[in-house]
């Protein structure tokens, strides 16, 4: 009896110590390569790393409104040229050093000097960044640029002294390589997680930084293993064996379907990206507004959503009202949802100066994105009902960007996804529709419209938020009314996850951060309850 009791006590102690000592591990995957240097980060995996390892001065809330983060408050001068930020005192980098204004200045100068990643958001706009005192930093712009505040979500603050201690010879004079070699394998951040190990092709391991100034959710992971470029079959096996917690958004729909059937949860992320059928406004017949409207009215948006179906409840997209995703700053919820109306389409076509029987329309889809072929074929089928003959052309991405440089080589219709880089309407609209931005894959509409240029320029100069919103609402209505493009759908990225993992920002639509790529992947807010 005594032995039995002793045995039970030992088992109890063992289980207790295991439970207390067990680390909460979160394993997820993304597409390689994981770029750790925040000055070079551009894509989804890089952004996940950046937002968990580093902090920014401001951060958007679920409505896209910028809130204090490392900066506790800021002021903007009347002329819109000077932005002054007061930093939150006591925030510490992973090595224990305090975050100061000098670090902010160094981070900006480093990004601009290296001139990769999101440097273009600051290069040319910021004339000077100056540390006024330990906790005050001032940016002076070369001309008024209202989106500046929003672009700061792409300026992670790095530990100046740590980087300076780890310089190697390089092309930046006294700054050598500006710490590029060091920051490609280590971190110099103040974020909720620090880098434990990093292989840009295979795996990044991040460990919780317990002294993080904003704290953690109760079940936040202690260790995060971000794996790169896993094969769908491998991910499926790992998920079923519970050796992986969250998949990437890049799996084929049938894998998500299979995982859902095996009891795993599917969650979606929207608010950042729109699928467009870009219409070339300079080439006949798509230079004619009636022809464009006829095509938009003949397109079957419901059939498109069927193509995007993963399960009965989950789709990879939803209808888009215009060029901005729902919830994105400046989004106009009053715009109508597009719908197919063949009679109205025929009426519009009758008003067009072009006879559809005498010309062919070319729709190009990006060769690397097979889903686009299905959409292009749907478009071809829909247009045939109007008597418009459509040629479906597969174009590799590299060639597409070349074709986009001239209106005469840009296809009549091109399928592309466009994502915002910072939470401001300027991020999407300027690069797509301003005359000065013509000649890139983003501006394949070749709009070159004076009214649109005026509104876009005014949006950049106007500091008052309410006035800016009016400007962008006006602009969206003008674009939709003139059917500059066909707004195919708002992209919803699908992820499969284990039921014991909670991702509040994805599970509750009202908590989703719009307008920041990977902005919903803050590990400190996630919970692993296993």
């Amino acid at each position: 009896m005594r032995l039995w009791k002793l045995g039970m006590a030992l088992v109890f102690i063992g289980v207790l110590s295991l439970a207390l000592g067990q680390e909460k591990i979160l394993r997820l995957d993304e597409v390689a390569v994981g770029e750790l240097d925040p000055a070079k980060a551009t894509d989804y995996a890089d952004s996940i790393l950046m937002f968990n390892v580093y902090d920014t001065l401001v951060w958007p809330d679920a409505r896209g409104k910028l809130q204090p983060h490392l900066a506790q408050r800021w002021t903007v001068s009347q002329d819109g040229l000077t932005y002054t930020f007061n930093l939150r005192p006591g925030v510490r980098f992973h090595d224990g050093a305090e975050v100061t204004a000098q670090d902010v200045v160094f981070s900006l100068n480093r990004m601009v000097a290296i001139n990769q990643g999101y440097a273009y958001l600051f290069r040319g706009w910021v004339k000077e960044a100056r540390a006024i005192d330990r906790y005050t930093v001032r940016f002076t712009l070369s001309e008024p640029y209202a989106p500046f505040l929003a672009t700061l979500v792409r300026l992670p603050i790095i530990n100046r002294n740590l980087v300076l201690k780890n310089l190697r010879p390089g092309p930046f004079g006294e700054f050598g390589d500006y710490g590029q070699a060091f920051l490609s394998r280590a971190d110099a951040g103040s974020g909720a997680y620090r880098i434990a190990s990093h292989d840009p092709q295979a795996l990044t391991v991040m460990a919780k930084y317990p002294a993080y100034f904003l704290g953690f959710a109760q079940g936040a992971p202690d260790l995060v293993r971000l794996r790169y470029s896993l094969e769908p079959a491998t991910v499926r096996t790992l998920m079923v064996r519970r050796e992986h917690e969250v998949t990437s958004q890049w799996l084929p729909p049938e894998i998500y379907r299979a995982l859902a059937q095996q009891g795993l949860d599917l969650v979606t992320e929207g608010g950042n990206s729109i699928f467009f059928l870009k219409l070339n406004n300079k080439r006949p017949p798509t230079d004619d507004v009636h022809f464009r409207k006829a095509m938009a009215l003949a397109f079957d948006y419901d059939a498109l959503l069927d193509i995007l179906r993963v399960t009965d409840r989950v789709r990879m997209g939803k209808k888009a009202r215009g060029p901005l995703p729902e919830g994105f700053p400046g989004f106009d919820a009053a715009l109508p949802l597009p719908k197919r109306d063949l009679a109205a389409a025929k009426a519009e076509l009758a008003k067009s100066k072009y006879d559809p029987r005498s010309m062919r329309v070319e729709i190009a889809w990006v060769a690397e994105v097979p889903l686009e072929e299905k959409i292009a074929l749907l478009f071809q089928q829909n247009m045939a009902e109007l008597g418009i003959q459509v040629d479906v052309v597969k174009v590799p991405w590299a060639l597409m960007t070349e074709r986009a440089t001239k209106p005469e080589t840009t296809p009549h219709v091109t399928s592309v996804y466009v994502s915002a880089t910072f939470p401001d309407p300027d991020s999407l609209l300027y690069s797509m529709y301003h005359s000065k931005a013509a000649g890139t894959w983003l501006s394949m509409s070749w709009l070159q419209d004076k009214r649109v240029d005026e509104l876009l320029d005014l949006g950049r100069r106007t500091v008052d938020e309410a006035r800016r919103r009016e400007i962008y609402v006006q602009l969206q209505r003008y674009l939709v009314k003139n059917q500059v493009d066909i707004y195919g759908y708002e992209q919803l990225a699908v992820f499969a996850k284990q039921p014991y993992v909670s991702i509040p920002t994805l599970e509750s639509p009202e908590k989703q951060v719009a307008g920041v790529m990977a902005g919903n992947w803050l590990f400190r807010l996630m919970e692993v309850r296993r």
Binding site: V33, S184, R241, P396
Partner: protein, 340 residues
């Protein structure tokens, strides 16, 4: 022999030079702007131009090649636009992982392929021969990534015996790096837990990678043995009353192995380049995967760097195989000695 070896080494250097020139030019004619791809779709033209200059892409092709050779001599292969690190550093990190995989695959190929061929030849036209031939044929005709997926589904998904991915289990720390081969480094550190774990991780990818070469080795060994057994000197040995075992070991195996080894050497060397799909399925952080990603990314320096490594490995393995074949075949030894 020494003169022949020297000749082969000089010839190998010439081949490496030719490969570097060919790949250098080919990499630059693949469609797409490497600077644009590296910087992402949102980068400005000014950023792209700056990177082009940093990569010397603003210079004429011959000057770019001269600059490349100048750097190679200093042991600098430039920086990778894919990983944003020096290519030499990437090679140092990824090459040992693939070499370890390839060596274990090569070992499986020899250790299982040759005996299978010998058994088939011994039991010619009987059921062990038929079974061995079917197995060998399956190995040859089934691509290695299909094997990889089958093996994962059977041994990881259904049975749960072996790990699905990576080189080491979570929670285990790799041993101090000496060779970059986890198994060898674990032995050097006397860390037997890591050693066993590394072997368990190697089992499925190495088997998947070896099966094609294994089938080929078995088929060749069988065919060459049967051909040798039909030779008059074997008849003579039988007439002298030598035992079948002595005939096989002393008079048949050695000459039959020479052509088999030549082809096996080629198969083995080709594994370094063809390991990509196996590495992808098992998330193996190796060179083959890096090489393919670099090509898709149009990472010029990484493409040339990895091509040079693969070419050098191919040449080294071929040289080694030739030396072994010369050792196996006395007639070739005489030819080499007399410079015929």
């Amino acid at each position: 022999m020494g003169r022949a070896l020297f000749r082969r080494l000089v010839w190998s250097l010439g081949v490496l030079f030719g490969v570097s020139l060919l790949i250098f030019v080919l990499a630059r004619v693949i469609p797409g702007d490497p600077a644009r791809i590296a910087l992402g779709p949102m980068a400005t033209e000014e950023q792209v131009e700056a990177l082009r200059r940093a990569l010397y892409l603003d210079r004429p092709l011959p000057l770019q090649y001269v600059e490349f050779l100048r750097r190679v001599v200093r042991g600098d292969l430039g920086f990778s636009t894919y990983t944003k690190r020096p290519v030499v550093e990437d090679l140092r990190e990824y090459l040992p992982a693939t070499l370890e995989l390839v060596f274990v695959s090569g070992f499986i190929m020899v250790a299982l392929g040759l005996p299978l061929g010998i058994v088939a030849a011994h039991f010619r036209d009987r059921w062990p021969d038929a079974l061995a031939r079917v197995l060998a044929l399956l190995g040859v005709v089934t691509p290695s990534f299909v094997w990889a997926i089958f093996l994962v589904l059977i041994f990881s998904y259904a049975l749960g015996w072996l790990p699905v991915m990576g080189r080491l289990s979570e929670g285990l720390s790799p041993p101090p790096r000496v060779t970059g081969f986890l198994t060898i480094d674990a032995v050097l550190a006397r860390d037997w837990v890591v050693f066993v774990d590394a072997l368990r991780h190697l089992a499925l990818p190495a088997l998947a990678l070896s099966l094609s070469g294994l089938g080929q080795a078995a088929r060749l060994a069988r065919t060459n043995l049967l051909e040798t057994f039909a030779k008059p000197y074997i008849e003579l040995a039988r007439a002298y009353g030598l035992s079948p075992f002595a005939i096989a070991l002393k008079y048949a195996l050695r000459p039959a192995m020479a052509p088999t080894l030549t082809i096996m050497g080629l198969d083995f060397a080709a594994m370094l380049g063809s390991a990509f799909l196996v590495e992808a399925v098992f998330n193996w952080p190796g060179l083959a995967r890096y090489m393919v990603q670099a090509t898709l990314y149009k990472d010029l320096n990484a493409i040339v760097g990895t091509a040079l490594v693969v070419a050098a490995f191919f040449l080294a393995v071929n040289l080694l195989v030739d030396l072994v074949v010369v050792w196996l075949n006395p007639r070739l030894r005489i030819q080499e000695r007399e410079g015929i």
